[in-house]
Symmetry: C2
DNA sequence: AATGTTTGTCAACAACTGTTCACTGAAACT
DNA sequence: AGTTTCAGTGAACAGTTGTTGACAAACATT
């Protein structure tokens, strides 16, 4: 029993750290496998990676099979059940990882506190870097957001809503558009996030190494954001009932 | 040979009409099956309907199987090949139907020519009616837009881009935002269409018969459009190079 | 050192998949 | 009339799927 608790502890710690550089750098650079839980987590994440890899090859998550994933991960099909009850549970794990990526994006953007000039262009730069580095997470989120199984779809929606909420709170904190009501601010952020994810789909779907087209898509993205914030600036709240 | 040509002709005529009221109303109200080509088209569209029905039950198109569809359609699996080479081809047919729906939406919106007051609210009303009436097409387009197989995904993207283009031309024709360059107008329409499809996903994913929530989503949608057009109104084209 | 726990493996299963081929009967053509 | 065309059928195939249970070896616990 105590062992089980310990396992859970390790799991949470390592999983939550979410991807600090290379997985086992620090103590021993030897490729030897240390504790049992570490190895379990290793195959677990190799299952997750296998799913993402297959998706990168054009498949959608919902169409992936259990055996297909274990094959790609290099383990026997039955091993799957040591980590996930079924494909849905693996999908939910991917949603969590994607959510963590989103939150980290927000944290990164928060560092660029000073709302000086060209805040949009800079945010987009951060976003672009994130997009390329973690492209598989974004592909999964943007792709299954309104396509996959109902369970996963609603889980993604939750994560995205959470992201929207957090973003709107950040804008409030930085006094970014003080004349907007909270509801309007959230509506704004929802619009921005949707635009962001749509852009992600577009950009990640490109044939690779086409910098011209990529720049075009990015410019269009920036232009859309500019227009949105322009609208936000000149927004007037309805006068019926001022926020209490 | 001549028979084959005739078949093609009938196909195009009936398929292109895209859904005028009930399929065979007008001459004989008897439910008897007339010509051979008509019956072929009937099972063809019952295959398409079967796919849509299964999707309505929460499945994504990419995860559907050939046998599953023929089962739902009430024909034997081998019949499938009389109509489509494989699932991708059926998917493309669905994309075409969806595109036709989009074009019809545009045609409907065009009737409301007068750009008087509250044009957004009225357009949204038209959209909502369309959305409910043809919900399966929208579900398919919005769902597989960035999820399904690469072939279908790019086909959808083409249709959506076409829709965006046509919409921007309409706005030009009605002199709607004359101070915008063509490129900006297209960017605007792209933004609107993305917002539209995202709203479609949200609305169609709701638990049925929740008018309160539905109204909330619709209001949010209208609010987003308002903000977008507000931004479009106060948009200033960069002064570097005025459109030649 | 002895005992319990657990990750991964192996073999096997019933069910289902996409696809093939030859065939039927009715509609369409000559 | 006789002949051709063709949508839909039925049986069969090799391959794949998700899932089960028993087992081995490495590890953790006492």
């Amino acid at each position: 029993m105590r062992y089980t608790q310990y396992t859970r502890f390790i799991k949470e710690v390592i999983v939550d750290k979410g991807g600090g550089k290379s997985s086992a750098s620090g103590r021993s650079s030897a490729p030897e496998l240390a504790t049992r839980d570490e190895r379990k987590l290793r195959t677990r994440s190799s299952l997750l990676d296998a799913a993402l890899t297959l998706m990168q090859q054009g498949r959608s998550f919902t169409s992936l099979g259990l055996r297909e994933i274990t094959r790609e991960a290099g383990v026997v099909p039955t091993s799957f059940y040591r980590h996930f009850r079924d494909m849905d549970e693996l999908g939910l794990a991917l949603v969590d990882d994607g959510g963590a990526t989103l939150r980290q994006l927000l944290r990164e953007a928060r560092k660029e506190s000073a709302p000086v000039s060209d805040i949009i262009r800079r945010s987009v730069t951060i976003y672009k870097e994130f997009l390329l580095e973690r492209h598989m997470h974004f592909m999964f989120i943007a792709g299954e957001r309104s396509g996959g199984s109902p369970v996963i779809r609603s889980a993604i929606r939750n994560q995205v809503n959470l992201f929207v909420l957090e973003m709107s709170q950040d804008l409030r904190r930085f006094n970014f558009l003080p004349h907007l009501s909270t509801a309007t601010l959230q509506m704004l952020c929802g619009l921005v996030v949707n635009t962001m994810l749509n852009a992600a789909s577009d950009i990640l779907d490109m044939p690779p190494d086409e910098p011209k087209l990529e720049q075009e898509l990015l410019d269009n993205f920036v232009k859309q954001l500019r227009l949105i914030f322009l609208g936000a600036i000149s927004w007037k709240e309805p006068v019926a009932k001022p926020a209490a």
